[in-house]
Amino acid sequence: MKHVKSLNKPMNSNLEKKGCGECQTSCQSACKTSCTVGNQTCEQSK
C-alpha cells in the first residue's frame, strides 16, 4: 500500500487463547497505583 505502513498485525489473532491466567498480575510489576496491561507479555508466547 502506497499510503499506509502498518505497525502490526491485528491483535485478535490471540483471541483463541482462553485466558490461562499464567501471566503476571499487572499491579505487581512497577505501578501499584494505576493499571497497565498493554505492555504485558502473554505467558504462552514466551
Binding site: H3, K5, G21, E22, V37
Partner: protein
Amino acid sequence: MIHQYRNNGYNIVMDVYSGAVHVVDDVCYDVIAEVNRAEEEPTAESLKTPEVKAGLLAKLGGRYEAADIEDALSDVIELTEGNQLFMKDIYEGMVEVVKERKTVVKALCMHIAHDCNLACRYCFAEEGEYHGRRAMMSYEVGKKALDFLIANSGSRRNLEVDFFGGEPLMNWQVVKDLVAYGREQEKKFNKHFRFTVTTNGVLLNDEIQDFINKEMDNVVLSLDGRKEINDKMRPFRNGKGSYDLIVPKFQKLADSRNQERYYIRGTFTRNNLDFSNDILHYADLGFKQMSIEPVVGEETDPYAIREEDLPQIFEEYDKLAKVMIEREKEGKGFNFFHFMIDLEGGPCIYKRLSGCGSGTEYLSVTPWGDLYPCHQFVGQDEFLMGNVDEGITKPEIADEFRSCSVYSKDKCRNCFAKFYCSGGCMANAYNFHGTIHDAYDIGCEMQRKRVECAIMMKAALAEQ
C-alpha cells in the same frame, strides 16, 4: 472504532477492535477522517459506493490530487476488508464470559511491615500505617498467607508474592524465612513462586542485595528523581532527605542485576510537573528500567494533580518520548514502564477486558492476616474480604470485582485506550467516584496520552 492523531510528525491511525495500528500519509489520514464522519461506521462495501468517492473528491479535492485521493481510498478499503480498519466490536458479547469466569488467586501483596523509616508526604499508606496501627507481619501469619495462596490457586503454576509495606526491609528476617518456606512448598505442590520486593532502600546492604538477586524476580526501588524533588517528598521522619543515602545503593543493586528485572520507580506530583527531567535524571544516574507514576491523592491535597495541569503533563510525555527516541538511536536507550507497549502479541483479550485482577486473582494481606482486594483498599472496612485463617468470608466482594470490565464502565465504552489499560485502577475509581465501576478521569487522560506517545515511538523506531 477509529482513533487518529498526529504526534511528532507522524499520522497515526488506531483501529481499536482489531488492535491494528497504521502510520499513514496526509491524504490517507484525511480520507479516513472523512469517511469516519458518517453516522454509521463504514464497511468495505459502503466505502466502495460511488457516493463515497464523489464526497471525498468534493471535500478534499482542493488539497490533494484526485488520483491520490482515489488511491488512498483503495488502501482504506483494503485495510477494511482485511479487518484492520473499522473492525466491528466482537468483544462485547464476551462480557458475560468474563463475569462468570472462574478465578483463582494467583498473586498476593504481602504487607510485611506496616511501618516505614521514611515519611513520604503523599504516602497512601500513611507512613506505612494504612489508617491503622503500626505492625509487622509474623512468620506464622506469612506462612498461612502462602498456604492460602497455594490452596486457592487451582491449577495455576506461577504464583506471585510481592513483599510490600510500609517498608519490607524493616521486617527482613520474616521475608527471608517466608521465601525459604515458599521454596519448600513449591516443590510439594508443583508451583513456582515469583517473589518481588518494593523498597525505599534505606536499609539495603550487601547481604540483602545478594538475597534479592538470588530470590526475587523483580525489585521495585522507590526514588522520585532529582535530589531536590526526592528530598522534598521523601524525607526521613526528622525531615532530612533520603536521596544521598539511597541512590548509591540503588545504582549498585541495578548494576548487580545487569540492569534487568528491576524498576527505579517514582511518583510525580504537581510540585514537579516537569517530571521528564526526573526520568532523564534516572537515566543520567545509569538506570535502564524506570517508572514514574502520577501521585494518587485527595483533590484537596496541595500536591494532587489537577485537571488544569494536564496540558503541561502532556507536553512532558511528548518531550520524554522524543528524547527516548533519540537516546535509543544513539544506543543509550532505556525503558519507561508507561511507554512500554506490545503491539504484536501482548495479553489475551480476557486480560484486556478484565484488568488488574484485584479482588479476585490479586489480594493484599495485612500484617495480622486480613485480606483486601488490593493494597490500596487496605484499612477500608467495607473491603475486608476475609483472613488467612478462614479464607474469603465475603465472596460478594470478589463477585463485584469480577463483574468489573471495560464494558461495565460507561467511560471506557468509547475510549480508544481501553484495551491497553483494561479499565484502569479500581482503587482510583473508588477513591474519586465511590464505585469501582467508574474511572478516574484525570488518570484516563494521562493514560490515553501515554498510549499515544508509546505508539508514536513505535512508529519512529520502526523507521530505523
